[in-house]
Symmetry: C2
Subunit: 304 residues, 2 copies
């Protein structure tokens, strides 16, 4: 079984019929499953979660990008979230039986096709980046759609694929391989935002914490508490249980309890199993010990 | 998706070709998967794990029981494990989309068929038991194959299905619905068996502990440590994390650390997810948040 995930982001979060038409493109591929999708009106942006056989996922992503270019006109797009393309970003994530290196290759194939066939400039980011300053998506996106007409003229910002000029209505698109991202938030039993900020600083990479953790303090005003809001960008190397235990310990330093946590979206079975085995102190335990995983393997064996 | 599990036990653990022929019977059913099987020479017994669509699982179990009756002659069977039948026991476990009540019904259908068509007396046990003294399998099995020729004459031990006389070579069989059983062992950093015994007593139902826990102290002589060896007979009501945390706390009372744990065989995703969510203090988390589970649902939707 070879599976990858992709979570393409489209710059439309208000007109549901547009988003549905884009998602519809994926349904032509029997080995691609749309596991989830959501629209955000404030951000004016939608996020789709696809999982499937790599070749069909790539084809689905191309068709979705093509459809988004037909239906979305960035000249009239406004929203809180920064964006530079109708299809803003396409991450490829190795899931089962696939490697990061393969995803890097596939991101290049997809980027090339989008650039050449759709005339949309493509930037490779994260693990696919061709130069260090393109690893970070927010660096690429700086200036957004409107600023890119100038930015693209800078030789440092020559696209990896496609024309050297911004697509008039669809902008530019980032494509890249990355690890599975877990959005994990820990709620603290206090309304003191300074404590959440301090703990966020303690665990996040940029200020000396865990390498694959991005974190910030957030106020949950309705609940009257604060939260350490995180992206875990590599749950294998900076695992969720270690980050959580560190936060609990740091909070205890201030006499503050952890009152709960939340995970936004989905998680891979591996992350759940790793946490299970760590807390229960089981050395010899993998996903193959979970009945549902074995069933999934049996079923996909048949289908292939 | 409707799935049940069954873990039939056969009284043959030495001649692999016999066990293989029995397992072969299950492979005729496309919606039945043999997830695991193991033979134990000392016990002279084999255990097969089947998962699948209920009706096909029942048919597979019937065919396996028939084949075992043809190939195993209990008059010549010796082994450490108590046994009363060629097919000794057939548990049915609700797994996904199925209820305990359905499994009770199915166990009766299967028992009736084995009794009537194969002439093997059948006792319903656990949740399918027709009287309290038959709930516990070891009560039914008391006397074993050899003793059953007398025991069956006692009106209290009239079989639920099939003839009132023991099958000459295949003995009698127990069939019943039960919850998924997790075999969970916790290793202690001491060679003092008394401590393991005391902790086993603290957590097990029979001596005042958790309702769905069976436990005993065991010496691991090679490792020079002791173990609390358990069967969790209902992981939903006496969950693994609570039992584990209680053992840790009891061990600390004696100044003894928990040095590791092990799970024998497989676990349902629900048990893993419950443990994950408990330790990370996530209120709102279920198996549908795990990517692999969603894929499994998508795939089985198609197949149906």
């Amino acid at each position: 079984m070879k599976l990858i995930e992709s979570v393409p982001n489209f710059s439309e979060g208000r007109r549901e019929e547009i988003v549905r038409q884009i998602i519809e493109e994926a349904s032509k591929y029997p080995k691609v499953k749309v596991l989830d999708w959501s629209m955000d009106k404030d951000h004016n942006r939608s996020v789709v979660t696809l999982v499937g056989e790599p070749e069909q996922v790539l084809n689905a992503l191309f068709d979705m990008t093509k459809k988004a270019a037909e239906l979305i006109d960035l000249r009239y797009h406004k929203g809180e979230h920064p964006r530079m393309g109708a299809t803003d970003v396409i991450p490829l994530v190795p899931l089962i039986g696939t490697t990061m290196q393969e995803c890097v290759e596939w991101s290049k194939q997809l980027g090339k096709r989008i650039g050449e066939e759709l005339g949309i400039p493509v930037y490779l980011y994260e693990r696919s980046a061709t130069r260090p300053e393109r690893e970070n998506l927010s660096e690429i996106r700086k200036g957004e759609f409107e600023g890119f007409f100038e930015k693209i003229k800078d030789p440092n910002w020559k696209p990896d694929f496609g024309p050297d000029r911004v697509h008039e209505t669809a902008g530019v698109t980032a494509v890249g391989a990355r690890e599975f991202l877990i959005a994990f938030n820990v709620n603290l039993g206090t309304n003191n935002i300074e404590i959440a900020d301090k703990i966020a600083k303690a665990v996040r990479h940029i200020s000396g914490g865990y390498r694959y953790v991005k974190a910030m303090g957030v106020e949950l005003k309705e609940k009257g508490i604060v939260q350490v809001s995180m992206n875990l960008t590599n749950y294998k190397k900076s695992p969720i249980f270690r980050v959580f235990e560190t936060i609990k310990r740091e909070a205890a330093r201030y006499g503050v309890p952890v009152v709960g946590s939340e995970i936004i979206g989905m998680v891979p079975l591996q992350a759940v199993v790793d946490t299970f085995a760590w807390y229960l102190q089981i050395d010899d335990f993998g996903t193959n010990r979970v009945i549902e995983e074995r069933l999934l393997n049996e079923l996909t064996k048949e289908i292939e």
